[in-house]
């Protein structure tokens, strides 16, 4: 009332700020996870729509439709990266923009653009795989292992 705080008021304030400190990180985390969920889900719904459109209007069969979806989503990811919009989405979406295949396209396109100044061969050509390279190495590598295991299992049977 008159500018002086009672000890009880100070105590309440201290406990309040301790409470804020305790809950803020969790709250931020819940927000980030929710945003990742919403954006990631929305991007997958877009993929589903692309797939349905391909089947309905281009007469694509299931296998071709999934290739079509991958190509269109990669195009969209790269195009939005080129316009500088994908990084803006990424600030809100976090993993929601990284985990979908559009994020894979983003990793290639943004690296390609960033290293353009180092030349078309050792700049763009080499550096565009700075994130996508490991993905391809471990993805393709482990798929060869799976294929060879399937071959061995087939021999034994």
């Amino acid at each position: 009332m008159n500018g002086w705080k009672t000890s009880r008021q100070r105590d309440i304030e201290q406990r309040y700020s301790a409470m804020v400190e305790r809950f803020t990180p969790n709250h931020a985390m819940a927000m980030n996870v929710t945003r990742a969920f919403l954006w990631g889900g929305a991007i997958c719904v877009m993929g589903e729509a692309v797939s349905e459109l391909g089947k309905a209007y281009l007469g694509l069969e299931a296998a071709d439709a999934s290739a079509f979806t991958a190509i269109v989503m990669v195009f969209l990811g790269a195009f939005l990266t080129g316009l500088g919009q994908y990084d803006r989405i990424g600030k809100h979406a976090g993993a929601g923009s990284i985990v979908p295949i559009t994020g894979f396209a983003n990793s290639i396109a943004s690296a390609a653009m960033e290293f353009r100044r180092e030349g078309l061969v050792l700049g763009v050509g080499a550096r565009m795989f700075i994130v996508a390279g490991p993905v391809l190495v471990y993805g393709i590598g482990s798929s060869v292992v799976v294929g060879l295991l399937a071959w061995v299992v087939g021999l034994i049977r």
Binding site: G47, E48, F79, A109
Partner: protein, 117 residues
Amino acid sequence: MFVKAFLVGGALCAVGEILILKTRLTPARILVGYVTGGVILGALGVYGPLVEWAGAGATVPLTGFGYSLAKGAIEGVAEHGWLGAFMGGVTATAGGIAAAVFFGYLCSVIFKPKTKT
């Protein structure tokens, strides 16, 4: 199908976000983990039913890329023997890989990177 795609795709991304926040893994490591995880789950026959159920919700996240690699390798072996282990995975994912290389390259030629502030 759209609801299922939203739920499964969103959940896979939410798990990625939790991994980033809790373990401080870099996005590159998350992507490598997701692809490899997709290959393993695909090989074990776990991921296939999820794709059947959720469509693009399971195929658009990078685990779906891994699943396609594993499925392609196994189908390749059925068709070409051990050669197929080397051919099937890349064949199944060729569209996405070629598109990423092509459009990524185009971006660097057409667009100028925004100067970071």
